[in-house]
Symmetry: C2
Subunit: 193 residues, 2 copies
Amino acid sequence: MEATYAALCKHGYASLRMRDIAAESSKSKATLHYHYESKQNLLYALLDYLTDSFAEQVETLEGETPAEQILALVDIYLEPAADDSLPEFRTALLEIKAQGPYDDRFRAELAEFDRMLRGRIRSLIEDGQDEGVFRPDVDPDETAEFIVTALNGAQTRHVAVDHPLERTRGALETYVRRELLVADADETGERFE
Amino acid sequence: MEATYAALCKHGYASLRMRDIAAESSKSKATLHYHYESKQNLLYALLDYLTDSFAEQVETLEGETPAEQILALVDIYLEPAADDSLPEFRTALLEIKAQGPYDDRFRAELAEFDRMLRGRIRSLIEDGQDEGVFRPDVDPDETAEFIVTALNGAQTRHVAVDHPLERTRGALETYVRRELLVADADETGERFE
């Protein structure tokens, strides 16, 4: 998976070949072919792997309150870790998203990630409502979807026109504060920075 | 421009050739080469043309209030017109966005569209604030940016995982109502459907 990730970042989706992945790996091209048959299969496995690791990473989140935890998740999505090849990965991922209509497996893997992300955010919104710090009249499903849409848009604009990810981070913070938090949350000791 | 649009929808960005554009056009491949030199130049011209037509289209918007006008603009962006090749165009556009980091002209054309869209939404927010129907403490710039981000995300998710555009339309309606409208807007005759 590391070799596939590295090769994808180096060559981009369109021109990636099995031999590029082998070059990043300790395995031979023949071994990779034996286990995965094609570069497509390696990429499906990579998306699956990335979904699992992201899900694991956001299972426990920093922050005392659901609002802080939503923003911790946003941070992980937008700036997952110090990784030099991240811009290249984001670009390759956008190429892969553009394959969605033509490639059922890509679409299925991307949909799995989408569902996981949406579900995690929805459950944080429900936590906030259960604790009485989020407005009860907010629809957890629509709101979680909207945040996922904004996160997708942040990545797309970042790749396409170099739009700063921090701008979306800031706007999402405003959104969580104004749209989710009950008006008097500041006074109830559930203060949100 | 129509021929370039049609050929792009039919063949996608990656495999588009000058001859595919000529096949959709009344002009010969030689004439197209003479005027545009390459398919890239035709695509730059297409993006430029689409930005201009969109700007013209949203100059006057349906709706009595700034809130209704913002949603009219959202509708035009998400479902511009009955056009059978729209799904293919959205997919090709996402491929082109993924070229942003590698192609300065694409990035410049996409940035021009982004700026125009953002500016139009910001001016509608400022209109609403001037009229006293939008909250004065909303930052027009951050809010316009956030709506542009959500619109980008709606298209990306639609292409990648077939996420329904109506869901984003609904979420943006909620957003405009709750985040922008002053609390008593319903009572002031500036009712927002």
